[in-house]
């Protein structure tokens, strides 16, 4: 996955780890042992598998392909990789995974990525620029994300932060975060509580309790507030004392590199 996604973020800095690695480690730390986690396509899979390989061996990974409690020993090639079915506690059909497992709100955390995310945590993975029928960029679309965002008890978004991906208002609401602000989720009848963190390659954002606007609450070593604001398309609020997030431990980095190097079949 990572080699294919290929960006300059994959470069290992003089700190001994890359910004992508810091992001993945940070996202993995957000998952607690014993949680149930609905793993979205893309970046979240690496972080969820890293969590399971380190501090959260009892993390229950659930994939939209129907694998419940998958225990891959490397990163799956796709969300429908055979290793997921072969190691899962149960494999169910795609309708069942959405209807019986996701929809009733029994999953603790939905782990999603995004092409665009806005200050209220709304996610766009559909079209950028132009209009829906004639877009500048046509993205893959919704997949499982809208209902993961709606129904998991909480949501964590893992995404690389750029001025183009972090926007005031997404071009297309594929998956709802807090809509236009407080009260919107309730009004829309969304049963989950919404996005609790956006974890990027620069730091961690959390919703302001009053406005639900995402605010910088954590930063990685070597990243400055102006550098984060420079890559944010809205007037980013910053917590009074943003947490300085610990660098990846050797154990975390080793585990991540083992996962990424292994593919699924070793």
């Amino acid at each position: 996955m990572t080699s294919q996604a290929g960006t300059n973020h994959a470069d290992v800095s003089e700190l001994g780890y890359s910004a992508d690695e810091m992001m993945t480690v940070s996202a993995a730390r957000a998952l607690r042992d014993g949680m149930t986690c609905f793993v979205g396509i893309g970046l979240p899979s690496a972080a969820a598998n890293l969590a399971r390989a380190t501090h959260a061996p009892g993390l229950v990974l659930i994939y939209e392909s129907g694998a419940i409690g998958a225990k891959p020993n490397g990163l799956p090639l796709s969300i429908g990789d055979g290793i997921l079915a072969e190691t899962a506690d149960a494999v169910v059909s795609v309708p069942e995974i959405f209807n019986y497992w996701l929809q009733p709100g029994r999953i603790d955390v939905g782990f999603l990525s995004a092409a665009q995310v806005d200050k209220f945590g709304n996610i766009n993975t559909t079209v950028i620029g132009g209009d829906y029928r004639n877009p500048a960029v046509r993205l893959p679309g919704a997949g499982g994300a809208p209902e993961i965002a709606a129904s998991c008890r909480e949501v964590i978004v893992v995404v690389r932060q750029t001025i183009r991906s972090f926007v005031e208002r997404v071009d297309f609401v594929t998956s709802v975060g807090y809509g236009s602000g407080p009260g919107d989720r309730e009004r829309l009848g969304l049963t989950g509580s919404g996005p609790k963190k956006i974890i990027t390659d620069l730091g961690v954002l959390e919703p302001d309790p009053a406005t639900l606007e995402f605010t910088l609450t954590g930063m990685y070593p070597g990243v400055s507030v102006p550098a984060v604001r420079e890559r944010t398309g809205w007037d980013l609020a910053v917590a009074a004392e943003p947490e300085l997030i610990a660098t990846p431990s050797t154990a975390e980095l080793d585990a991540l590199r083992r996962l990424e190097g292994s593919d699924h079949d070793d």
Binding site: Q4, G66, T126, Y132, G141, L190
Partner: protein
């Protein structure tokens, strides 16, 4: 009872110009060989239905078989875009492509409704999304495939999606027996629903055996629910058939460059499908 025939015969008899065709298989067991046969037989004006179009529909779209795509996630998994899909949507090449877009939960439930003989299914979904808004644009009464529905007991407002009833479902499975009972296991996706929702169906299989021994996690579609069975070993390549073949990830990576360029794609088609 399913007829056991060649792939070419199955496609000829089951799939006609203008049909709504659902080729399913969620990452696993994607019926690529059948898709290529449809290209070879130069079917036109198809409505292609599939949760994840994947390379199989990128190829069918690029080959000019489709006039409409019904889907919920249209990317090259782990790689990026489907360029033939984008070229058709954005520039009408080789023909314009109408799209009908859903979420996975919505598509899955549309198949469930089809398989259940119901005109719609109910879910918690779409509320607040632009997909929903898009579907209802210019239509005072709501969308053609997504509309609100009210619980007759609680008054709560939920979302209804219209049933999908394809003319033909196409799947790839690990095995069939000589009676045409079809067995598949691993990630089983939405194939049972697709076959049961469709008027006709084609199953390509890795092998035809004397008897289907029960397998953990296996589903069986009885012979009388399947129209045609064709033995096509490797028929899911470059996707995989658990127990028979591994995913050819290199093919998915290499597709990006082929799919990106009309000439490269045309050349690929000539060399790999038509010839």
């Amino acid at each position: 009872m399913a007829e056991i025939v060649s792939l070419s015969q199955a496609v000829r008899q089951a799939i006609h110009d203008g049909d709504a065709v659902a080729m399913e298989g969620f990452t696993h067991l994607i019926p690529f060989a059948a898709g290529h046969e449809v290209i070879r037989q130069r079917r036109r004006e198809l409505t292609l239905i599939r949760m994840t179009p994947d390379l199989i529909y990128d190829q069918l779209i690029g080959a000019g078989c489709a006039r409409k795509l019904v889907f919920s996630w249209g990317g090259n998994p782990g790689v990026g875009s489907l360029h033939r899909f984008r070229d058709a949507v954005q520039r009408g090449w080789p023909t314009p492509l109408e799209i009908e877009e859903h979420s996975h939960a919505g598509m899955a439930n549309r198949y469930v409704a089809g398989a259940s003989g119901l005109p719609f299914a109910v879910l918690r979904g779409y509320n607040g999304t632009d997909l929903y808004r898009q579907e209802t644009l210019g239509n005072g009464r709501g969308g053609t495939t997504i509309r609100p529905v009210t619980c007759p007991f609680t008054g709560e407002q939920l979302t209804a999606v219209a049933a999908i009833r394809p003319d033909v479902a196409v799947i790839h499975a690990q095995r069939a027996d000589r009676f045409g009972n079809v067995q598949f296991w691993g990630i089983t996706g939405v194939q049972k629903e697709a076959v049961l929702a469709s008027r006709r169906s084609v199953a390509t299989v890795e092998e035809i055996v004397d008897a289907l021994e029960p397998r953990p996690g296996a589903m069986v579609l009885p012979s009388w629910t399947v129209s045609y069975v064709a033995q096509v070993p490797g028929g899911a390549h470059p996707s995989y058939a658990l127990g028979y073949s591994a995913r050819d990830n290199g093919y998915y990576l290499a597709w990006d460059a082929i799919g990106r360029d009309r000439a490269a794609f045309t050349c690929w088609l000539e060399e790999n499908v038509y010839s």
